[in-house]
């Protein structure tokens, strides 16, 4: 009984299923386990049977040649082909789900560096190698690295995404936890000496505990508030004036909208674009403006960049439409308004906002397919 339960429970071969995505992945996995065991046993049995049945009986035995068979060749080409197509389609569906980031996800900002994970909550809490998230909420991880490539991996959620350095990209991945508990965070891409020490824990809490945890944290203000301070400190405010009279485009009401660049190309203003504009401002110049902005590469840390982005997001179109709704955190949003809905959905394995999937809820601006650079 115990053994049967052990095997059926499969706790020895499957990690905990702690996200909505986990059972989907496991179902395909178990389907593959079943299918491949079936064919492996079938072929092995045939080989073993032949091995015994047709063993050499005398040293000088020479069997008659056997002619090939077009029917068999066709069968064992076509049947595996169709099975493969099925596996491909199933795997692709799961992958598309995973990388189509829902537009009502909450953000967690992640900075990877040799050899630690740093997390920022929009509400202002910051953690290292520990992460607290609420159960049953869609979480988008917006990730950057300070040095080499790392890979954000939570086995219990079945999610993994490389965090690739570069001025023009954030890596993004999302998950919705389905059970409370504590689960491993690993760095899955080799990143140097203490690669195996770049591990941590994600603690999934129910919403009440999470809210309590949020309010118990350090109160240095939300990310957006700190971003607003940085916006002054770095002097951004002197050019990007809120009344539009500065030498640079005003940023109010811009997040999630389309901007026209010099040369007519259109670009979606999202996290990656803002990051690129701060770090390599000359890469994409807004039409009608001079390329005068200096690069803040090396001046603004990855965390500060994320705060600046949180600030710009907080003064996005939704905020502009509802004056006084500053801050950008879900706690202080006007009722009935989900601040995350300001962000257009992106389907991306990171880098650029590439595609707006069809059939998504209405957006501030529908983003057409486009490519980075």
């Amino acid at each position: 009984m115990m053994l049967g339960k052990f095997i059926l429970g499969m706790s020895w071969m499957l990690p905990e299923q702690a996200s909505t995505y986990a059972p989907e992945v496991d179902n395909l996995y178990l389907f593959l386990v079943g299918t491949t065991i079936f064919f492996t046993v079938l072929i092995s049995a045939a080989i073993l049977y032949f091995f015994v049945k047709f063993r050499r009986r005398s040293e000088s035995e020479v069997p008659r040649p056997v002619a090939g068979s077009m029917v068999l060749e066709t069968a064992w080409t076509v049947i595996p082909f169709f099975i493969s197509i099925g596996m491909f389609a199933w795997g692709a569906k799961i992958y598309l789900d995973q990388y189509t980031i829902p537009n009502d996800a909450q953000d967690i900002y992640v900075v990877a560096k040799q050899w630690m994970w740093k997390f920022q909550h929009p509400e202002g809490q910051r953690e290292i190698n520990e992460l607290h998230i609420p159960v049953g909420k869609k979480i988008r991880f917006v990730m950057a690295t300070e040095d080499v490539i790392h890979s954000f991996y939570i086995p219990a959620f079945r999610i993994k995404e490389d965090v690739v350095p570069g001025p023009n990209r954030y890596s993004t991945v999302w998950a919705e936890a389905t059970m409370t508990g504590t689960f491993h965070i690993f760095c899955a891409e080799y990143c140097g000496t203490s690669h195996s020490g770049m591990i941590g824990w994600v603690t999934v809490m129910d919403d009440k505990d999470y809210q309590a945890w949020l309010s118990g944290g350090a109160a240095q203000g939300s990310m957006a508030e700190r971003g607003a301070n940085l916006f002054q400190q770095f002097g951004c405010i002197t050019c990007h004036k809120s009344d539009g009279s500065g030498q640079c485009p005003k940023l109010e009401g811009k997040y999630g909208t389309m901007e026209t660049l010099q040369g007519g190309e259109k670009v979606l203003i999202d996290d990656s674009y803002i990051r690129e504009s701060i770090l390599s401002p000359l890469a994409k110049i807004v039409a009608g403006y001079q390329p005068i902005m200096p690069s803040f590469q090396g001046q603004a840390s990855e965390e500060q960049l994320q705060m600046l982005i949180a600030y710009i997001k907080s003064i996005g179109p939704a905020a502009a439409a509802a004056p006084g709704a500053g801050g950008g955190s879900s706690k202080i949003s006007p009722p009935g308004m989900n601040p995350a809905a300001q962000r257009p959905p992106i389907m991306s394995t990171g880098g650029a906002s590439m595609i707006a999937p069809v059939g998504q809820p209405a957006q501030p601006v529908q983003a057409p397919p486009q490519s980075q650079k």
């Binding site: 492996t40 092995s44 080989i47 090939g68 595996p80 992958y95 570069g166 760095c187 080799y190």
Partner: protein
């Protein structure tokens, strides 16, 4: 008894010091070896050096496994990182890539097509020297402090962060790459231009098809490796921003370029072994290979499709989702020709005369392990699953089943099938069977637990790990020890047999193929007379009629004189 069991000396073959005259005693001294243009002697040079690197790589593997006995590691992280990097670099670039083509291919390809040598014998020798030079660089890199990037050299870690001997290793890989290109070129030209009369394309042994397809891949893929390594060196030395975003480069570009070579390289490692397996299965069951043309063409299909799937290594590397879909689909497509091969090998056994000797055991061992390696390829090709298992032990287990279970089993099977042909001595059958079984058990115990480890989430390249993974790691290390003992037995009896093995007859297996129609070991020119091929591939005649072509002591051909040029060669 049949002709095949007759000792060549008793047949009246010309002798040197009590041994039958052959390429082995046609010229003595180190000089005659180091300056040889004989493809067979060059194959022996490769055999000695490549096997040495196999032993070195194996020692690194055991050290890696020892470290993983404890969750906290036995060595410090820096040491461990150098160990797995050294294991990967040595095994991939200095053992697996050259093993089958440079040893078995060099020795057998000309004989199998009825030629006296490869098309460019001097270039063949040059390629061995380039291998030696490159391997020396690699070895120096490892001894003088090591490399800590992993064999994949991902940027920007390798170009801007690592303080290890990346450049030296890169130079070594660059040079060894040109060694394989030269070998590939030689094989292609030889196969096209030097086939014996009557040896049409579809009479070629499938081993030759495998080598030919491999040579195509080598010629087309390896230059990209050379370019990638050069750009990496350029960025590391001159700080030209190519891959490091801090200098304006793109790190994912490196991954595209690296895998554009390294995925086809998987086929460089496994295609020639598949060619060997066709020979093992056919000859040890005395059956024509079922669906010969399908097996031959599937090698070419693998070679072509193999170039189109590199992006399946980048499913979580921020590559576009749509590229992911395309690469996943093509990865499934490349699985089909491999499946065709397995089905045809299985069907070949049907109504065969199956020998239980070691080469057959390795042939079946290959199929068994490659089945698991190939089947688990279906898991990692599935996008949704790969996100979870990529960069974990699942992938480690998968590619070891393909590359060790596949390539190494094929290589060892080939070594046993042709050992007598190459050295003139047979290996001890009892010990060989025992070693094969030990290796098979050890291999599965080493790598099967790693599938489970990987799906449970154990990342690769971890010097230390959470304690819940320890049981499976200990099992794996136990398996590696058994595998190591099995390998040691093989090495010992191969060396032992050189002096003490039974003298090998021309055709110990009652096999088909031109290499069995010349003496063991063959004369320098391979044949006593140019063969004229009038039979199809894998036509097994009754054993009594399998004669050495133009063999001096062959009573049925008593009019044949000893070839004139033979005795006068120095």
């Amino acid at each position: 008894m049949s002709l095949i069991a007759v000792d060549p000396i008793e047949m009246g073959a010309p002798q040197v010091d009590g041994e039958p005259l052959s390429y082995l005693n046609d010229g003595h001294g180190l000089r005659s070896w180091l300056l040889t243009k004989d493809h067979k002697r060059i194959a022996i040079l490769y055999l000695i050096t490549v096997s040495t690197f196999f032993v070195i790589g194996g020692i690194f593997a055991l050290l890696v496994r020892i470290n993983l006995l404890s969750p906290n590691g036995v060595f410090d992280a820096d040491t461990y990182n150098r160990l797995f990097t050294a294991h990967g670099i040595v095994m991939v670039f200095f053992f697996l890539v050259p093993a089958v083509p440079a040893i078995l291919g060099n020795f057998l390809l000309p004989i199998m097509i009825g030629a006296k040598d490869l098309a460019f014998p001097k270039i063949n020798l040059l390629s061995w020297y380039m291998y030696m030079l490159g391997a020396t660089f690699g070895l120096i890199a490892i001894i003088a402090g090591g490399v800590d990037t992993g064999w994949t050299f991902y940027t920007p870690y390798s170009t801007s962060y690592s303080n290890s001997n990346v450049l030296l290793a890169g130079i070594g890989i660059f040079i060894v790459g040109f060694s394989s290109i030269l070998t590939g070129l030689n094989f292609i030209v030889t196969t096209h231009t030097m086939r014996a009369p009557g040896m049409t394309w579809f009479r070629l042994p499938l081993f030759v098809w495998g080598q030919y397809a491999t040579a195509l891949v080598i010629m087309l893929a390896t230059p990209v490796l050379a370019i990638t390594v050069s750009l990496m060196a350029l960025e590391r030395i001159a700080h030209v921003g190519i891959f490091d975003p801090a200098m304006g480069g793109d790190p994912v570009l490196f991954q595209h370029m690296f895998w554009f070579y390294s995925h086809p390289a998987v086929y460089i490692m496994v295609l020639p072994a598949m060619g060997v397996v066709s020979e093992l299965i056919a000859n040890m069951s005395r059956k024509n290979v079922f669906g010969y043309k399908f097996v031959a063409m599937s090698s070419l299909a693998i070679a072509v499709f193999g170039f189109l799937v590199w992006g399946h290594h980048l499913f979580v590397s921020t590559q576009s989702v749509y590229l992911g879909l395309i690469f996943s689909f093509l990865s499934y497509a490349v699985a089909i020709p491999s499946a065709i091969k397995v089905f045809n090998w299985t069907a070949t056994l049907y109504k065969g005369s199956i020998s239980y000797d070691t080469p057959m055991l390795y042939g079946l061992g290959f199929i068994g392990l490659f089945l698991i390696g190939g089947m688990t390829g279906l898991y990692v090709a599935a996008l949704g699953i790969d996100v979870h298992v990529t960069d974990t032990y699942f992938v480690i287990a998968h590619f070891h089943y393909v590359m060790v279970g596949g390539s190494l089993m094929g290589f060892l099977g080939g070594m046993h099938l042709w050992w007598g042909k190459m050295t003139g001595r047979q290996y001890p059958e009892y010990w060989a069977r025992a070693a094969m079984v030990i290796q098979f058990v050890g291999f599965n115990l080493t790598f099967f637990p790693q599938f489970i480890l990987g799906y449970l989430g154990m990342p690769r390249r971890y010097a230390a790990y959470p304690p819940e993974f320890q049981v499976l790691h200990v099992l794996s290390t136990a398996g590696a020890s058994i595998l190591g003992i099995g390998m040691l037995i093989t090495i010992v009896y191969f060396i032992w047999s050189l002096k003490n093995g039974k003298r090998a007859p021309a055709n110990p297996w009652g096999a088909s193929g031109l290499e069995w129609r010349t003496s063991s070991p063959p004369p320098t020119e391979n044949f006593y007379e140019t063969p004229i091929v009038t039979w199809e591939a894998y036509e097994f005649a009754p054993i009594e009629s399998m004669q050495v072509l133009g063999y001096p002591g062959d009573s049925s051909r008593s009019t044949q004189p000893v070839p004139k040029e033979h005795g006068t060669e120095d």
